[in-house]
């Protein structure tokens, strides 16, 4: 690229290149009008990034520290205090399940039946590894007579979540063998025997068809409830129900005949019939309160009505 010297100053010269670019260059004894090659061009200072204030730097540092501490704390909590795998120990009649963290520490031991719950009374497992907990619990089981010498103790664990399954199996077997028991260690939790389920609650019996009225339905919006009778008019009866009470559904049985009344006794009065709705009565307007027709009060029987046997 050739440059034409356009202007000369003491320390620099202004050159124009063949692409019409005008640049500053070192004045290496140039003269105006001269054509030069390979000049020492000006290095434009790089545009500095916007400066960050001290307060902002402090905030960023505090935020970075907080993120690091929270992240580290979360990782530590995840590794030590969240259950990662499970180990199930089945010692004859005492089944229990251990929750193990990623760091290989037992977080909790859950009894799966009553014997295991007795074994775990006053026992703390925090900070111990599964082998130690297994050994201690088997020792307790032997002392309590839950297992006898020569019995088989099953240990079921998740092989894929164990760092060194072979070492784990070997250690557990040695630990169990030290109590003169036989070890049966499995690397799959699915093979563990399922503990007996709790007895299911009996189904709720249906309400006996005692002829009681069903609870009143909630008032429906848009329908006006009949006004209660005025307290000063004893003749006014409450309005008759629109429908007879629903008969409870019972198995299909033929209703037994009503026992005839014995001779010599008074003829019981007929059961009160539901008052018939007035046939020709026009429906009352919506804004008026229906008032039942005035009738003589129904006389209830003195003795209870004999119901047909079911």
């Amino acid at each position: 690229m050739k440059y034409m010297v356009m202007e000369c100053h003491k320390a620099y010269a202004i050159l124009m290149d063949e692409a019409s670019q005008v640049v500053y260059a070192a004045n290496l004894h140039y003269e105006v009008g001269q054509t030069v090659e390979n000049p020492v061009l000006l290095q434009e200072p790089e545009t500095a990034a916007p400066r960050i204030s001290v307060t902002m730097k402090r905030c960023i540092a505090v935020a970075a520290c907080a993120v690091l501490m929270l992240g580290g704390g979360a990782l530590y909590y995840r590794g030590n205090y969240t259950p990662y795998s499970s180990v199930m120990v089945c010692a004859d009649e005492a089944n229990l399940c251990m929750e193990v963290s990623r760091s290989g520490k037992v977080l909790s031991v859950q009894p799966l039946n009553q014997d295991a719950a007795l074994l775990l009374s006053d026992y703390t497992c925090s900070g111990k590894d599964p082998v130690t907990v297994t050994s201690e619990l088997i020792e307790r089981a032997v002392e309590n007579g839950v297992v006898q010498k020569g019995d088989t103790v099953g240990v079921y664990y998740q092989k894929e979540k164990n760092k060194d399954p072979e070492q784990f199996e070997k250690t557990v077997e040695q630990s169990i063998a030290s109590h003169e028991l036989q070890a049966d260690v499995h690397g799959e939790l699915d093979q563990a025997p399922v503990p007996p389920a709790a007895p299911a609650e009996p189904p709720v019996a249906p309400a006996p068809p005692d002829g009681k009225e069903e609870p009143p339905a909630p008032p429906q919006p848009g329908k006006e409830e009949p006004a209660p009778p005025a307290p000063h008019d004893p003749k006014v009866e409450p309005p008759a129900p629109a429908e007879p009470p629903v008969k409870p559904e019972t198995p299909a049985q033929d209703p037994a005949p009503v026992t005839p009344p014995e001779p010599g006794t008074e003829t019981p009065p007929e059961p009160p019939l539901p008052p018939e709705a007035p046939a020709e009565e026009k429906p009352a307007p919506a804004d008026t309160v229906p008032v039942p027709p005035a009738e003589a009060p129904v006389k209830l029987p003195d003795h209870p009505v004999q119901m047909p046997p079911v």
Partner: protein, 243 residues
């Protein structure tokens, strides 16, 4: 002492705006520049040394890029000078295996150099004539630019740096060169017809606005009377992209 620092800062700020003030400041600090150059060369620099020119240019760069956040100016300038001289030394070291034309041949008493034995194919008289004509063109251009209120230093400061921007400006110049009425309007009104150029060349008007002073210089070169300079910037006139 504090007054001196404030005065120097004021001079630097003025030198950033005014080329003559910049020249004055450089002249004022020539002993400092010589001192820094001699530290590098391990001898006193002569006025013909390129190193002294480069040191002066580095001092000029330091004036342009200095800000009080960078510390004391003289320390900053000394660092700039040393860095520039080291860069130049590394660049020149590539040619170390070559023989200088000024190397003496024969006995020193003869005073003959290698240059005297090489046939000179250049035509110094023709070159001198061309250079003189170019100088006159440049002087004429500078005077005409003054009418537009533009100096060559303004053009250098306002020239596009990115290739994309340069290409956009070149498009506008090509459009003006192919449409004589645009150039006539430019000379008559002494204003760059930015809207016409932007619409005709299909470039952003804002881009042209940012480089108005540069466009003044190049559009003036495109008018009659600047044959040598027009020949020099042939890439623009042919409408080619900048390499």
């Amino acid at each position: 002492m504090k007054l001196d620092v404030h005065r120097l800062l004021a001079e630097i700020n003025e030198a950033k705006k005014d080329p003559r003030a910049c020249d004055r400041l450089i002249e004022q600090y020539m002993p400092f520049i010589r001192s820094e150059t001699s530290k590098f060369l391990k001898r006193d620099p002569s006025p013909e040394d390129d190193e002294l020119s480069i040191a002066m240019f580095a001092f000029y760069e330091a004036i342009r890029s200095y800000s009080p956040l960078k510390g004391a100016f003289l320390k900053y300038a000394a660092l700039q000078i040393r860095s520039r001289l080291i860069d130049n030394y590394r660049k020149e070291r590539r040619h170390q295996g070559q023989v200088s034309l000024d190397a003496p041949i024969g006995s020193e008493e003869d005073g003959l150099t290698l240059m005297d034995t090489v046939q000179d194919e250049s035509r110094p008289f023709e070159e001198f004539g061309v250079r003189e004509a170019t100088r006159q063109e440049i002087a004429h251009l500078t005077a005409q630019m003054e009418e537009f209120g533009v100096k060559l230093t303004d053009v250098a400061d306002n020239a596009p740096q990115q290739q994309r921007t340069l290409a956009a400006c070149q498009k506008a110049v090509c459009y003006a060169r192919n449409n004589k009425d645009v150039l006539d309007e430019f000379l008559r009104t002494k204003r760059v017809p930015l809207t016409r150029l932007a619409e005709g060349a299909g470039v952003e008007k804002k881009t042209l606005e940012r480089h108005r002073r540069y466009l003044v210089a190049v559009l003036l070169v495109c008018t009659n009377g600047y044959e040598i300079m027009r020949g020099h910037i042939m890439q623009v006139l042919k409408g080619g992209e900048a390499s």
